[in-house]
Symmetry: C2
Subunit: 355 residues, 2 copies
Amino acid sequence: MIHGGDLVSYEDYYHGKLVDFSSNINPLGYPRGLEEVLEAAFSSLLSYPDIKYRRLKSSVAGYLGCPEENLLLGNGSVELIDVFISRAARVVLFTPSFVEYEIRAKVHAKELVFLDYGEDFSLEIEGLGELLREGDLLVLGNPNNPTGLRIEEKLLLEIYRHVREKKALLLLDEAFYEFCPRDYDSLELFKEEDYRGLGILRAATKFFALPGLRLGYGVSSLDQVEKINKTLLPWNINSLAEAAGNHIFRDRTYIESSQAYIEAERSFLEENLARLRSIRVFPSQSNFILIKLHGMDEDRAFKFFLERGLLIRKCSNFRGLDRSYIRVAVKDRENNTRLLDVFRELEDLQRKSPV
Amino acid sequence: MIHGGDLVSYEDYYHGKLVDFSSNINPLGYPRGLEEVLEAAFSSLLSYPDIKYRRLKSSVAGYLGCPEENLLLGNGSVELIDVFISRAARVVLFTPSFVEYEIRAKVHAKELVFLDYGEDFSLEIEGLGELLREGDLLVLGNPNNPTGLRIEEKLLLEIYRHVREKKALLLLDEAFYEFCPRDYDSLELFKEEDYRGLGILRAATKFFALPGLRLGYGVSSLDQVEKINKTLLPWNINSLAEAAGNHIFRDRTYIESSQAYIEAERSFLEENLARLRSIRVFPSQSNFILIKLHGMDEDRAFKFFLERGLLIRKCSNFRGLDRSYIRVAVKDRENNTRLLDVFRELEDLQRKSPV
């Protein structure tokens, strides 16, 4: 499997409902009231969505605190990742990172440049300034998937300076933004720059627990937005996603309690996982955790969890990771406890019969 | 406006609900039971759609009567139009035709070749064989938008022969297929050829009255499908569109009664429009009618209809049509009667005060 969340492929392996730790979705589910909003919007299916998405843009821009004119809307943020990549001269990636960056670059026959994140995936940018060329697109997950690390503000400003100097473009994929510590907001940080040389992408997918909805959004400079809007497909957002996007961002209580919940559960998971000797846990600032297995490969772990009804993410198809890495989502307490139990069971088994 | 259906732009001009004759949607609405199906699918928003759309493909292939392996799914058929165009050497268009063919060709910086449909938009293909080159994509609406004419079977086979001889590709846009006389089915016609050198596109948009859903589909040869699937974005169909697509094709009664209804209403409209002297009506085999205005331009007609709560389609942004053409959809009897009344009112006014 290329991506997490592919439940259908594994349904037959486990007789019962699989718990999905392979995709990183807010375990509290989508905001309350959404179902009523969708029901009320059924009749909108009879018409085309507003080709300019006027109301939706106003809703998203209000939530993000950015000007509507700087906004881009996508059929999931992957459509926006794709359009930025399609316009790049070269695509510069730090590895490991979201596999679609490389896939889309290859679809558009773009030259790829790979850099290592560095020790413990900490993002070392030595040499980046010299490497970048005019027209390059540097893509960075913030926080990065699958490592979970957020770029420190000072470092981000330094990267941006390099990118601007070389007339390159920086694409920040912030699909997991709301799960992060809110020490800075890149949308605020670069607002006065009018997002020149930048694309910043976010989405309803992860935090608002709506991967099936396909609603991504982002900001860029006015001239980029104008050019990109000319290349995006008309009516790329479905009418029901349009209606949902007019609703979900209003629920401050949901947003704040989700953030607090994930923070507490991430700590709970990290602390308990850290006690295990058979794995190494990488600290995360998001709602997923990268884990290095000792003395076991991803396939064995995957099978072990699957047989117990848990779907985890194997990581060897992330460039830069070998078969000793897995990724798990932060879910609700009951399921997190279940995950920990299976890890402990696995460790016991390893102790009794080491490979 | 580039497209019909842009109600939002004109809502302020008319105080009341606008009747949309500018987009060509089945006036009977979507199939019964759909709302219950969508409600039952709300929880599917919490997961990614099946990345392989296994159940949806089985449903669509069953409806179309084609092998699943030949199927392509798009976020509206416009996504599939786009992907075929993106892979073409040159794009060959007969004009006038759906404006997105040219727009997408320009987005992908493709060389465009324009041919005239010929007298009364009848599709004259003299010289086509000599003109086509290897790698060309010939795009034909079947029936064609905005002219409403379906390609005769014999002519289609002749075109296909030219296309195959020159190793070009024929893209048949059959978004309005179900509204047509069912003298032949292109999917049957080219099944034994395994759809080699072909793309045939259809959609839930028009006939199933679901423009807001964004569900397009098509068939092509196995090798084309394999290549195209590698370039399509992951999860391009929203989960609710996926659920709808598992439901709507089953309702044979809806399908047959819609076809009979449109046929009767098209005749009613055509016969009554033909009595007017101030316009020329082009015979249609679809659910829309192209009209040439005598002594009046599209803007004046558009405004006249708009002031009476009817939105019609101006046609001058179709390459090959001047400002004397408009297009109207075939709707339900009440609205069709209203349309005829406004046409008569317009004719009376013209008679009293000719331009």
